[in-house]
């Protein structure tokens, strides 16, 4: 094993959260390194935000107006935005994080513009439109100027902790198969979502929940794990475009129809006029259309691929011209292939795909520190900010949390006087190497397929007791008996896909298990957690947070902290409660 140089701050992941954290840490004169699974500015969900056509970064209207966006709503305020975020989150947001979000969004937008990011215009009432790749390019340029170092193509497998204090990370260079200990005074987890637990997602192939799982093993807690957002109109077939959400963008702007296998609309018939209007014409479309599509598929009215159709009517023909004028990117590259396919009268088979994880590592909203000293987290891998439903921009989350985590981790590194690590590495290395010592056993590929099937059956858009229980039992069985039995056909350490798969599996089990446990406990419907057996949002009983405390998925409930917003005590069908919430938005 390699023991690398000592760093002040190690950051895991190079999406927007990791890169923004690196800039803050290096600004505190810390020797800072980013270790990332992908290419530093071409990996993670950040790259794909808005399908790289138009991602939004959120900010209140008044601040945008003051920055010179004259069409922004100058009557907006941070306070109004705060209140709306709580409504959108069904009242269960961590209000410290929401406070940070509305306060710092402006600073984060201003600096990105100062550093050269191109803004295409306003998006929605509280946001600007940019490209995901441009966010990353702007941040990495700044990080390099500040002297941040990078290690790419390397998977952090664990965080080294003793006596509840952080000492660094264990990492695997996938190209060489080499394992290293990278020592650090503080560590920031910014490894993104856990998309890979599902068979169908919008995410890239580097998002296994590695950060959440490593955090749990290190002694941190997870929060809000039952809340998983699905993007409703994502291509499932043809296979070549699987996971692409461009039809969702087209539909949100107003193009195209979502139809069942008979070619019929079902969204406006499933909902009342009021709710259908929210589904088709508001930012609540993610939740409401996902719910509608899953319900239609369960009724047997989906296509054979378990999806529905997205089609754009070719009459009148000018509709396509209008769409190309509005979204010129649709005339280029793979998007051109897709629109040609649509122009020919074909429907794309679409379905809800796992998209964003509201839950994650529990942090302090004041410092981004976890329960472990010197261990911080930022971005999608954290939980709590958006409560039960994210409507506002996750890009803003990664930026504000990254900036604060970097600052606090830097300060921590500068003042800590803890000694070098002298403990053993066995407990980190042994589990990683185990399958190499077995000649016969279970294939990690088969286990991954089984796990993803469990996630699909138990934690898809609408859930019920039986499905979730089965999912949790399946995960426990894999963790207790099957992981130990994994063996590889490939004995090489160099770019061994089975090995990477196995490392991912350990983490997927941890994340899926935590989510299933929380979903089973929450016997109501709230936000994106839709229980067909408990369809009411029950504010009398369930205005609380579920915390997963350890790797055995022990849990506790925590009350929602009361602040400026009055908490409700109603018990209403989820759909009716949504109407009530929307009615209160500013």
């Amino acid at each position: 094993m390699n023991c690398n140089t000592n760093y002040d701050v190690v950051i895991i992941g190079s999406g927007g959260a990791g890169l923004r954290a690196a800039i803050s840490a290096a600004s505190k004169n810390c020797k800072t390194i980013v270790i990332t699974r992908g290419k530093a500015n071409r990996s993670g969900a950040t790259l794909l935000a808005g399908a790289n056509i138009s991602a939004d970064i959120g900010c209140d209207g008044k601040s945008l107006y003051e920055m010179g966006f004259k069409d922004a709503n100058k009557h907006d305020s941070k306070q109004k935005w705060f209140e709306d975020l709580i409504l959108e989150g069904f009242y269960v947001n961590d209000q410290d994080l929401v406070e940070l979000f509305v306060e710092d969004a402006e600073k984060r937008v201003r600096e990105l513009i100062d550093w050269g990011m191109k803004v295409k215009g306003l998006e929605g009432d509280r946001g600007i439109s940019v490209e995901g790749s441009d966010i990353l390019d702007t941040l990495i340029k700044k990080a390099r100027e500040k002297g941040v170092e990078f290690i790419e193509d390397t998977i952090v497998t664990d965080i080294v902790v003793e006596n509840n204090e952080v000492y660094g990370v264990i990492s695997l260079d996938v190209l060489s198969g080499e394992i290293s200990f990278v020592s650090a005074k503080s560590v920031i987890i910014a490894a993104g979502g856990m998309h890979s637990i599902f068979p169908f997602t919008t995410g890239s192939t580097d998002l296994y929940g590695d950060g959440q799982a490593a955090a749990l093993r290190a002694g941190c807690e997870l929060i809000d794990m039952e809340y998983i957002s699905f993007c409703p109109v994502v291509i499932k077939h043809p296979e070549k475009y699987k996971g692409n959400l461009v039809p969702y963008i087209m539909h949100t702007i107003g193009y195209g129809d979502i139809l069942n296998k008979y070619g019929r609309d079902f969204i406006s018939t499933m909902y009342t006029k009021e709710v259908a209007n929210l589904a088709l014409n508001s930012e609540w479309n993610k939740l409401l259309i996902s719910y509608a599509i899953h319900t239609e598929i369960l009724k047997g009215k989906g296509t054979e691929e378990n999806g529905v159709y997205f089609a754009v009517n070719n009459f009148p023909r000018q509709v396509f011209d209008e769409m190309y004028r509005e979204l010129p990117a649709l005339k280029k590259g793979i998007y051109k292939e897709l629109t040609t396919y649509l122009e020919q009268g074909n429907g794309l088979v679409v379905a809800p795909a796992a998209h964003y994880f509201e839950g994650g590592i529990k942090v302090s909203g004041k410092t981004m520190e976890t329960k472990v000293k010197g261990l911080f987290a930022a971005g999608e891998c954290t939980g709590g900010l958006f409560g039960a439903n994210r409507v506002s921009a996750a890009t803003t989350e990664m930026l504000i949390e990254g900036a604060l985590a970097g600052e606090k981790a830097g300060e921590y590194a500068m003042q800590t006087d803890r000694k070098a690590y002298i403990g053993s590495f066995d407990k980190y290395i042994e589990p990683l190497m185990k399958p190499f010592n077995k000649t016969k056993g279970i294939s990690p590929i088969a286990l991954r397929k089984q796990l993803q099937e469990l996630a699909y059956e138990g934690l898809w858009v609408t859930r019920n007791e039986e499905g979730i229980e089965k999912c949790l039992a399946g995960v426990n069985e894999i963790m207790q008996y099957k992981l130990d039995e994994v063996s590889f056909i490939n004995s090489s350490k160099v770019y061994n896909k089975e090995w990477m798969e196995y490392i991912g599996l350990r983490n997927m089990c941890m994340c899926l298990g935590a989510s299933a446990k929380a979903a089973l406990l929450r016997k109501e419907s709230r936000g994106v957690h839709i229980r067909e057996d408990y369809i009411e949002t029950n504010n009398e009983k369930w205005l609380n947070k579920i915390i997963i405390e350890d790797t055995a998925f022990n849990h506790r409930f925590e009350a929602v902290n009361l602040t400026k917003v009055q908490l409700p005590d109603s018990k209403l069908d989820l759909k009716d409660f949504i109407v009530e919430l929307v009615g209160k938005l500013s």
């Binding site: 071409r42 890239s204 580097d206 590259g333 294939s443 490939n490 770019y495 896909k497 990477m500």
Partner: protein, 106 residues
């Protein structure tokens, strides 16, 4: 159902004296359209888990630009390149830099 035959370059420096080619048959439904990346995924998932190709941080949406391979002699992005012919030859981008199979050093 039609079938595609993919011939893949293989090399593991720990066990192979020299590179060799291995052929795999991939079934494709008539109304489907698949990419070279899908072919490689299919081989790994169903036929041969020892095949190495870029997949540890792939966007699969023509955004990261990291899944380059040589297909029938031309360098392409595996996720962008549609498979239309019945036979394809898949090789690493730069044979001199091969680490394993289709993976090259930087």
């Amino acid at each position: 159902m039609k079938s595609i035959t993919a011939t893949c370059y293989r090399y593991n420096k720990e066990t192979d004296k020299e590179a060799y080619y291995k052929t795999y048959d991939i079934p494709v439904e008539e109304n489907n359209s698949i990419s070279v990346y899908n072919v490689l995924e299919y081989i790994y998932d169903n036929l041969d888990p020892t095949l190495s190709f870029f997949s540890h941080a792939a966007c699969k949406q023509v955004a990261c630009g990291r899944c380059s391979v040589k297909v029938n002699g031309s360098i392409v992005l595996a996720c962008k390149e549609a498979v239309t012919a019945e036979n394809i030859l898949i090789e690493p981008v730069n044979e001199a830099k091969v680490i394993k199979d289709l993976i090259c050093s930087k």
